[in-house]
């Protein structure tokens, strides 16, 4: 009888501990999000979006140049990264199915998604910044694209593999060549999944900091030319948060607020699309 009781108590304690860990995990999430949102909200005003940074120590100013720079770098990164990622993923799932080489590429891509992003920054520095002699938005975009390619490649591969093989066979039977089968049957069936994967990877890459430190660097002036050093929100946060001025800290909180909202929106939208697809 006593042993039974002991086991029951042990069971109870262990399960409560597991519940406790879950509460702690949730607590961290809520703690981080609320503290960013509360502190960031007070820094949000129109001048944050409409003005360029004031000289150090002078109050006021905004981050217009950083928002625009971030947008340009992200768009450029997508232009390089999305087609390569989607095409590569398509190859792995279609032409290269059951191929040893595809297995290797897929495994490498998986590893690259967890790769230290700062090393990518250093890598692109040697490839682009050094030969060109100056930091540039192009280099930043290339660094982000290198991080983006393996993510999109893997999500594309996984999504396309979910499309039943019989659908392709039906199209083959009609005499369609493989590329038309992919374009008109496979892509059509996988459209929502592909779109979601691309969106989520953009959301992940757009908020990277480390690869931009030595590539697009920073700039406190508005520039639309990607051949110049370009400011980005994340690098600006890093610089401002480490700086000594309270006004800089305020701007950094404002930028963090915008980034958190962006990430939350993208994630909720992504989950929504996934759910919609599953319901179909």
């Amino acid at each position: 009888m006593r042993i039974e009781k002991k086991r029951k108590i042990k069971n109870y304690i262990a399960l409560s501990l597991a519940t406790l860990t879950a509460i702690i995990g949730l607590f961290w999430l809520v703690f981080i999000l609320t503290s960013i949102l509360i502190k960031g909200l007070s820094a949000i005003n129109l001048s944050l979006f409409l003005n360029d940074p004031a000289p150090p120590g002078i109050p006021g100013g905004g981050l217009r140049c950083a928002f625009i720079g971030q947008l340009i770098i992200t768009i450029l990164a997508c232009i390089i990264g999305v087609p390569i990622g989607v095409l590569g993923g398509t190859f792995l799932a279609e032409y290269g199915r059951n191929n040893k080489l595809s297995g290797l590429v897929s495994a490498l891509a998986d590893m690259m998604t967890s790769f230290p992003s700062i090393v990518v920054g250093v890598f692109v520095y040697t490839l682009v910044v050094r030969p060109m002699g100056h930091f540039s938005g192009y280099a930043g975009a290339l660094a982000l694209a290198i991080i983006m390619i393996p993510i999109i490649l893997r999500t594309t591969e996984e999504t396309l593999k979910l499309i039943p093989w019989e659908l392709r066979e039906a199209a083959f039977a009609l005499g369609a060549p493989y590329y038309l089968v992919i374009k008109d049957v496979v892509y059509r069936g996988a459209a929502t999944g592909l779109f979601t994967g691309i969106m989520l990877s953009i959301a992940r890459v757009a908020v990277e900091t480390a690869p931009l430190l030595f590539t697009s660097f920073n700039n406190s002036f508005l520039t639309l030319n990607p051949n110049q050093p370009m400011p980005s929100l994340t690098v600006t946060i890093y610089q401002y948060a480490m700086g000594p001025y309270p006004d800089w800290h305020r701007l950094a909180w404002g930028a963090s607020f915008v980034i958190v909202i962006f990430v939350l929106l993208f994630n909720i939208a992504g989950r929504f699309f996934i759910k919609k697809r599953l319901k179909k």
Partner: protein
Amino acid sequence: MDSSVYLKDKLFRRLGLFSSLTIIIICILMFVVLFIYSYPAIKQFGVVHFILSDTWNPVKKVFGGASAIYGTITTTLLALFFAIPLSVGIAIFITQLCPEKLKSYFSNAIELLASIPSIIYGMWGLFTLAPIMRIYVEPLLQKIFLPIPYVRYLFTGTPLGIDLLTAGVVLSIMIIPFITSIARDTFELVPKELKESAYAMGATKWEMIKDVILPYSRVGVLSGIIIAAGRALGETMAVAFVLGNDHNIHLSLLKSSTTISVTLANEFTEADFRLYISSLFYLAFILFIMSFTALGIAKFFLGKMRK
């Protein structure tokens, strides 16, 4: 078949092939480039000597990576120390205890931790967590551990909040979702028959988890842990905010330190002569190899498990 259609198909296939090959090209190129640029430092300081020497002195032009490597490994181990029990607990909660309706919401919430950018963790760590550590947690830890012999060396020094311990805590939060999601997936792979036979023997839920689920999913959880370690090794921004940049090795967890990635972030654009830059590349090269090895091992285990 029409020849233009044939050509188009071939073209499409080629494009796909080259796109997928970019992955291999990038990996090889990265290895080669890092090696070439770090070669002057490798020649100057050697391999073993560079890894074991903790002098990092740009003025005297002497560089050793020991302090950065020590910081990298210590923060990673600390993060794992905090994150493993939490993540396994969370995975147990999600798979065994959570009501079916809440399951997906809860999983998504934990996974959201992975979507928060590292710069946000850094901001939060510097302005919110570090003061809490300095004022409340670290004095308390000192009160508890300082009287204990040997252990006390881990907790000496003035609590500043900007130190290895804080960095470890921030990193642990960042890697929780990685271990949790893999642990959760492997827990769910445990065959129902095994679980039911444990219950049929009269086991309590905890005994079933401890004696059936955990041993069965050992390899999966282990690979999740290694992937998380690979992440933690290379994490830059979150750590850069809360670690300071101190090239001395301290035993105490309440002292600032540096990691490879933090050193790179802080010094790469300031390095002004060849050997300095080359030494930084050397550090980047070591980080590249460390995380590649970790991720490779994890991949190997995961592949083995799938079979």
